[in-house]
Symmetry: D2
Subunit: 284 residues, 4 copies
């Protein structure tokens, strides 16, 4: 995989903005591998992502940051520059359902997800076997013994000790406390097993069964203090019928969960997602 | 199209039931064009639909009904027998959006929807042109002049005068009063422009835009007194992204509405739908 | 709908290119409503589409073209600038199947397709009724009486007389001769009733039925001299099963045809499609 | 999971057939968990699958078979009765791509696929690690050293020694010789990485990239002597665009392959598939 720099910009829309950025890139010989733009016409906000061939540009990472800073200031940009060779550190949080966790581990193992996975944390011990297979440290945080407060403190300590950049709730069945949501705001992704906003909260497949919907789904979103209300990154649905039992719906839903979460995590790791208020721009 | 009888049965699940029905059909030489079964294992309820070649069976419609009645009684069946040659009378209710109405008219015109359309009723005059093209009587019920109560009385009178079997709300933007919902219970189909239960009520596309979902949809359901809460027949979704404005979502959503409604109406006309509590069995 | 200019560029990829275009636009105060880029990394070709608020730019159409020409020359661009207020002239070619034709007419009638439809041409008389409803001149070109050669000459004359910009084959069941394909190269769109390259040629639904596929589809593509081999703009599929007869497949396929063609035509009319060799870039 | 008997019938369509089977089941007190019928109106062939609660029926497996035989003979049935508690023995054949193999192993591990997996066989050694994790015997058959003929003889011996009921080619990249196809006819399932019949043969993603299709897919089918021509069980597709490189298509395609194969294998293991000429009836 070619090394690239990913320049992601979020700023008020202004005439001259693209020209300034493009001129900067051209002046340093940058080859553009991929470029995406979006203007939110309601909020007059501009979003841009460039993926730049690292070997083409006559600047190292630090110089790039330094030299680009004046332009960023002029246009009041929120911005980031990421080196594709720099791997983010991703912690997986699990419970007893293995499908999402094992899927992410396999995509990481085969290189589809370009990151490090320094640890797996779970409130039940069952996921340890998969952690061992993939040679990832496993931490069982026993909620029953510790109580919720101490258990979440322990999780927070682990995330901090491992220098985690992204926390993925891979069917982690505990509701995070507000203080932890704040700490990892914008850096935690959850998979909810319904097409939100339908069937938020507990037992969504049973809710879907009771309502008699003809489609079930899954929603990958950023974690916020408002349960199942965070910015949505990706959704996936499947057709069902009267002949599907609640158990069938669970089975079909798992396939939705796996793909929606895998997409969402990859988009995040490739700097394709920008959170804007309670929504996302996803340059997929 | 081959003439068929459609025998639809809904009864408590019992051993011997299928054998009795099958023996009855065999005794009269019936050729089965299509057969569908479903057992709801939770409620122990059994559902069955047979489509029988009319020329194969040595019974006319009235004799069939008479001779089958004892079996139906024995097994406490709710049942119906419909002759495919008998066309149901379908009234279309519209407002100002033409896409669903015109689509249904065209499918009717080409024979895909096997029914009569004796009238189009609308609370605005714009749909008259399409009614004229398809040579269907048009009735503008002016809600502003009449007021809601008298307007709905007028609609009810029209439905009664035209001997309407099925009322289709093809983006009819008025909420039906409870008394009318009761009158046409199980005989009125609505299209709601969201994947229910998400975004019930007014302006669903704006709601979807504000929430930042990545899929929009439409839901075809039976009308009940609880707004947007009736049994769902069919749902359809489409993928959207941050680059879709609320107007784009309306455009994409229309394609969902058109197909979900067309399917739902066809299923109903072909006796493929059985309402069971607040859900449907759809032998699609 | 806001008036916009659509600047579409197709040229060899070069450093400085985007900066030059962006600077030109900024110098004239252009507000960018939508911007899309694509680099074909294999062929080193660059594609760009800008949709510019017409009221923001301090240039009229003719001056824009004049002043942009030097940049275009410098970078060896194939390019176009289109005013959204300028409606293209679209001829519809039909036979006996009305679903695609009527759908396009309705989308045009409601303003979803922003174009003029100066004429409908068909090799059978049945479509005349729809032409009348929408008040579009209808020409029946009788292939049986005229013979193929004279019939196509007559069609070519009609297209020329009506100053047609785009010819849409809305289930037109005649194979165009090479000379006509050449004449309208890049300006004629066909709908084929299969997911190409599967089931090219005649009776695709029967072919699909015989092969026992579990998905059927439709393909919208530019017409070229190689039958069903032109650049694909859009494809649509639907799930089928063993219980679908060939007739069911035709019915389901029609919904695919209608949406694939409607999308393809809209993309073309909004200058969202660039043909590159035998493929398309579609800035949807 | 409730123990069931699965009675699957394939015979000429005749009046009285369903009544006879239903009467037999009723006479022995059978509760029907699931029942599916299909009549092929072209070939006048009838297909039926019953899933019967084992505890409800007053017959053990052997007696059921004995007592049903006369009915089967009378109606010239090809039929089978399978006990859901009897696990089929499934061999997985792999090469170097792990996604399908690991997915099947995980679904087996979690009980979604109800079978035994006695061995994994591969023409490369890389899959051994996954075999070890799941504690399944692994056999590397070295095609380079052995040559094709002896390699396939060795595979055939392994399949025989392990008493394999179903052979799954989970991205096994060798073409099976005719004699082996015949041996395992109807008992071998392959996943092809295109929506057949498009892009049969080698490098389907490159073929798809070159043709510029807007959808890619995967096809799960029974293996026959005609490469990629066997009866199709399941197909899956995903939308792509000009911005997807051949590598992106490979990544997206893998998700199609995984789900199509998992569905196909499950349908087979649950006796939901009947092969009829070169097509399948799938009671999904």
């Amino acid at each position: 995989m070619q090394q690239t720099y990913r320049l992601v910009i979020d700023c008020p829309d202004q005439v001259g903005l693209v020209a300034s950025v493009a001129q900067f890139l051209a002046d340093h010989g940058a080859t553009i591998v991929e470029a995406s733009h979006h203007t939110d016409l309601q909020t007059k906000r501009f979003f841009m992502r460039h993926e730049i061939g690292a070997s083409s540009i006559k600047l190292d990472y630090a110089s790039f940051v330094n030299e680009f800073a004046p332009i960023a200031n002029e246009y009041q940009m929120q911005w980031s520059l990421n080196d594709s060779n720099h791997k983010r550190r991703v912690a997986l949080l699990g419970s007893v359902e293995s499908h999402c966790l094992v899927d992410l581990l396999h995509r990481w193992h085969t290189g589809e997800l370009h990151c490090d996975i320094p640890c797996i944390i779970a409130n039940h011990p069952q996921m340890e076997q998969f952690a061992k297979w993939y040679d990832v440290p496993f931490h069982w945080v026993d909620f029953k013994t510790l109580g919720k407060d101490r258990a979440f403190e322990q999780i927070a300590t682990l995330l901090s000790d491992y220098n985690v950049d992204l926390t993925v709730l891979a069917r982690f069945m505990q509701i995070l406390p507000d203080w932890l949501c704040q700490t990892i705001n914008g850096k935690a992704i959850n998979i909810h097993h319904s097409f939100l906003p339908s069937f938020a909260g507990a037992r969504p497949y049973q809710q879907a069964y009771d309502r008699g919907v003809k489609l079930i789904g899954a929603t990958c979103h950023y974690v916020t203090q408002d349960l199942d209300e965070g910015p949505i990154i990706e959704q996936s649905v499947k057709r069902i019928s009267h002949s599907d039992s609640a158990a069938d719906m669970v089975r079909k839903g798992k396939d939705c969960e796996v793909t929606a979460l895998a997409h969402g995590v990859r988009y995040h790791l490739e700097d394709r997602v920008i959170i804007h208020r309670n929504k996302t721009v996803v340059f997929a």
